[in-house]
């Protein structure tokens, strides 16, 4: 514990980044094969509402001051993922409408709560676009525990998740509780988004989930390879992004995403090269 307290703010940020760079692509690989990568965008936007609500509540009443916005963000994001499922049932013929509805109502409500609360705009930019220097020891703890929890869920239900992701019908007939697993999956997404938010920023969490696996699927030959390459690209983007943002004095979240985009471009070009030779 003493060792943890001696960490500098930069070391805390880097440790948080490495954890996030590992978990995000891992989840991304499952989202990719389920064809719902876009869900991470919707849930990250609704996390903004949760954060804004948390900050607003803790400002408006003294006895609510204990509320940590990270936790309200987590609750909102979980509620959002359940709402998306509900909306999919309401719009049976236009299921893809559920995501833009949640995405935009999340950010709309968030905008109102932001203009109601008295925080300075700069504080909000940290939430929106991420900042590595604001990772406190408590945040690092939150990131660590949510990361472990997400990892435990993934390992416990690995086979079930894989089966549902590839063929939901088959999973159902082979006796997997699809509803239960889907709930755990929603919980997993909500956990990963709220843990990544502090470093990468709400608007950029989706990028961390999508870009590394989009790059890895260009090169991988199996699901396992997608996961391994994805984590590799995720960590590279994370560390490269932090390094460049520190030296060029640019917003961390943005630089991480740009590094991810560059890696994606390299992967696409490599693939071209390979198929060109073959």
């Amino acid at each position: 514990m003493e060792l943890l307290q001696q960490l500098t703010f930069l070391e805390r940020g880097i440790i948080a980044g490495v954890i996030i760079g590992f978990i995000c692509p891992l989840l991304g690989a499952f989202l990719l094969v389920r064809r719902i990568t876009i869900i991470s965008e919707a849930l990250s936007h609704i996390t903004l509402t949760g954060i804004a609500a948390g900050i607003f509540l803790s400002q408006s009443a003294l006895w609510l001051g204990f509320i940590n916005p990270l936790y309200t963000g987590l609750v909102f994001s979980l509620a959002g993922s359940l709402l998306i499922e509900k909306l999919r049932q309401i719009y049976k013929h236009f299921q893809e409408l559920a995501i833009p509805i949640i995405l935009s109502s999340g950010i709309g409500l968030g905008a109102i709560l932001i203009s109601l609360s008295q925080g300075s705009y700069n504080e909000w930019y940290n939430y929106l676009f991420g900042s590595i220097v604001t990772v406190r020891l408590g945040d690092l703890g939150f990131i660590f525990f949510t990361g472990v929890l997400a990892l435990v869920i993934l390992i416990m239900f690995y086979k079930e998740l894989l089966s549902i992701s590839f063929d939901q019908e088959f999973a159902k007939t082979s006796g997997i509780g699809v509803r239960k697993i889907n709930f755990f999956f929603s919980l997993l997404i909500a956990l990963v988004i709220s843990m990544s938010m502090k470093v990468v920023g709400i608007l950029l969490v989706g990028a961390m989930v999508t870009l590394p696996v989009a790059a890895s699927i260009q090169l991988a030959k199996s699901f396992r390879q997608v996961v391994i390459f994805g984590i590799l690209f995720g960590e590279l983007a994370m560390i490269g992004g932090i390094y460049f943002s520190y030296h060029l004095n640019v917003a961390t979240g943005g630089m991480i995403v740009v590094t991810g985009v560059v890696l994606l471009l390299i992967a696409v070009i490599l693939k071209r090269f390979r198929t060109g030779l073959a």
């Binding site: 509805i101 935009s104 109502s105 950010i107 709309g108 932001i114 930019y125 950029l204 995403v257």
Partner: protein, 276 residues
């Protein structure tokens, strides 16, 4: 309550812009939703942010760009993003839906880098993100009138072709409708409307004006024409009520407009549930 909007020039601009946008966005939104492209609006609005940030960054170094309205660069980026999405769909043949999250997140990531290079993390950026009643200038107003006229003309000219394409793409192609040309044209119209709506509604919220009224209209309408009517009525209603309440309560107008849309949607969903 509304009279104050006619007393001050900037409020007048905001109101008129809102009315134009409240018409255009849901109208195009109907085509977007029916063609199952509703997410494209989100991707394009996020990439518009990188265009605006790029323009702000250039403005710091070159006088020419400092005088230029950032909306132009935003619209250019958004058209470029639309073409990139088409390109990515051919790269990921088996995972076509990946194109949108890639462009969306890349757009906002690049935007953030440009903004921080331009030292632009200030109140102006907040207005771009969430909209503002006071930010609509005279030059914005003229530009938005121009966009409204062009898009409306194009819609009138190509209504039948777009209609046909939305419902039966194969049949439309066989009857000789130039699918590629129309698709690119349509996407460019969406990009223009996003650029026009941005000032009042904000970049992060433009897409909701395109999808939420349509989602509500869809539950009520009994035909395609009715869907347009309902969508535009909901859109205009949300913009007017949203702008007025945002001004009087000192809130971000984008947020109030979206929340009114969400309320309309909820009411409609509850009403139609009883009917069944």
């Amino acid at each position: 309550m509304i009279s104050v909007f006619f007393q001050y020039d900037f409020l007048k601009y905001a109101l008129y812009t809102g009315l134009m946008v409240g018409f255009l966005a849901p109208f195009l939104g109907v085509f977007l939703v029916v063609r199952r492209l509703s997410l494209i609006a989100d991707a394009l609005s996020h990439i518009t942010l990188s265009g605006i940030a790029f323009s702000l960054l250039l403005g710091r170094y070159y006088g020419f760009f400092a005088g230029l309205n950032p909306i132009y660069m935003g619209a250019a980026f958004s058209v470029g993003g639309a073409l990139m999405i088409e390109r990515l769909r051919t790269v990921y043949v088996y995972y076509k839906e990946l194109a949108i999250p890639i462009i969306l997140s890349a757009g906002i990531g690049i935007g953030v880098v440009f903004i921080s290079l331009a030292n632009g993390f200030n109140n102006d950026l907040f207005n771009y993100l969430f909209g503002s009643v006071v930010a609509v200038t005279k030059s914005d107003f003229h530009l938005i009138i121009g966009i409204t006229i062009v898009v409306t003309l194009l819609l009138v000219l190509f209504y039948k072709e777009l209609f046909f394409l939305s419902f039966d793409e194969d049949q439309a192609v066989i009857s000789g409708i130039p699918r590629r040309f129309l698709h690119v044209l349509f996407i460019i119209m969406v990009a223009l409307v996003i650029a026009a709506s941005m000032r009042v509604v904000g970049i992060l919220l433009v897409s909701s004006l395109m999808t939420l009224p349509v989602a509500a209209a869809m539950r009520l309408a009994r035909g395609f024409k009715q869907m347009f009517v309902y969508a535009v009525v909901f859109g205009e209603l949300s913009v007017i009520v949203g702008l007025i309440s945002a001004f009087h309560l000192d809130l971000a107008p984008g947020g109030t407009i979206v929340i009114i849309n969400v309320i309309i949607l909820l009411v409609v969903v509850l009403l139609t549930r009883k009917r069944v």
